[in-house]
């Protein structure tokens, strides 16, 4: 696979992180069960929709950075999700992945794998949530993170018999937003 989006070092690092998770799971036969990956990483999963936002409300008021509550109003998180059109998100503080239940099933699997990717890439941890001292610059959000999480997402989401080629993935299911 020719990869024009990530340099060779980032590609190798990400493949190594993905490989470590698969190895810790005992290199299971495909298809990979994402629930087992999440269990290994101690990540929960919940769904939300435009009409059922209890999963958002449940985590929003508990969100903290450096011990401080992030949001004064839990509804702000729902507003942010709606405004940005997010179909899934990772809340590292709550160890929870939230997925839009209105997304079709295969895309949900992709989104789940994509968010797992954020969790396994160590340099994403520093850029997950800002605080009142600093805000993530557009450089950091738009240029590399979506591309980097595509790689583990493709590996986890489409792991089939060509599992020895973790980067090989298909352009068949595409998330509309990251």
């Amino acid at each position: 696979m020719r990869n024009l989006l990530l340099d060779q070092y980032a590609t190798a690092d990400i493949d190594q992180f993905v490989g470590k998770v698969l190895s810790d799971l005992g290199n299971p036969d495909p298809p990979l069960k994402l629930a087992e990956v999440r269990e290994l990483l101690r990540l929960g999963k919940a769904f939300y929709s435009s009409t059922h936002d209890s999963a958002i409300r449940e985590v929003a008021h508990k969100l903290k950075v450096a011990g401080q509550p992030v949001l004064a109003r839990p509804t702000i998180l729902k507003d942010i999700i709606g405004k940005l059109g997010l179909k899934a998100l990772l809340l590292p503080d709550r160890r929870r992945i939230l997925i839009d239940s209105e997304v079709p099933g295969q895309k949900q699997r992709w989104s789940e794998a994509h968010e797992i990717g954020h969790d396994v890439i160590p340099w994403h941890a520093d850029t997950m949530l800002g605080d009142n001292k600093s805000t993530l610059h557009q450089h950091a959000t738009s240029r590399s993170k979506p591309k980097q999480t595509m790689r583990p997402a493709s590996s986890y989401s489409y792991k089939t018999d060509f599992s020895r080629k973790p980067g090989a993935f298909l352009q068949t299911v595409t998330p509309s937003k990251y």
Partner: protein, 157 residues
């Protein structure tokens, strides 16, 4: 609508994928104009490059040594040290911070990946950028390189 992919179909498309550029989903975020940093951001990025330069030289490393230790491209290491408009990505900052033993969050801020609301870091970055410029006399090699380059620049074309 239901999608059914059998193994042969997956294998065929995986093989076909081998020499293609990979892409998925809308890269709508890429279409957004890049926010230009304000002058203080530029100074912070300048200080970031200077800091990397000094930390590298303190260890007696060449730029190639630095790139190898941090596992980044040599060309990117050169840009970081010499191009104050270049903002490295979060991975590069993470790798450099780890290789040089520098605090990651501060490095993300200095490198232009984070907008700092705390003025203290910006002021310290300006002070560092101003003070860290070498005042030592040029070495014989630097002197010769400078002379040769200026001579070239002055040659009529």
């Amino acid at each position: 609508m239901k999608f059914i992919f059998d193994k042969e179909w997956l294998q065929k498309h995986a093989d076909r994928d081998d020499n293609l550029e990979i892409a998925a989903g809308s890269f709508s975020l890429d279409q957004l104009p890049v926010t230009e940093g304000d002058p203080s951001d530029r100074t912070a990025v300048l200080a970031f490059g200077r800091l990397i330069n000094l930390c590298r030289r303190k260890r007696g490393w060449t730029i190639e040594n630095l790139a190898s230790s941090a596992r980044i491209d040599v060309s990117e290491a050169i840009r970081i040290e010499h191009d104050a408009s270049y903002v490295p990505g979060p991975r590069t900052v993470y790798q450099l911070s780890t290789a040089l033993g520098l605090p990651r969050e501060r490095m993300l801020q200095l490198s232009g990946n984070m907008i700092v609301h705390d003025r203290g870091l910006g002021e310290q970055a300006v002070k560092f950028a101003a003070r860290s410029e070498s005042v030592e006399k040029l070495s014989r090699e630097e002197h010769r390189a400078l002379e040769e380059f200026v001579k070239y620049l002055n040659e009529p074309r």
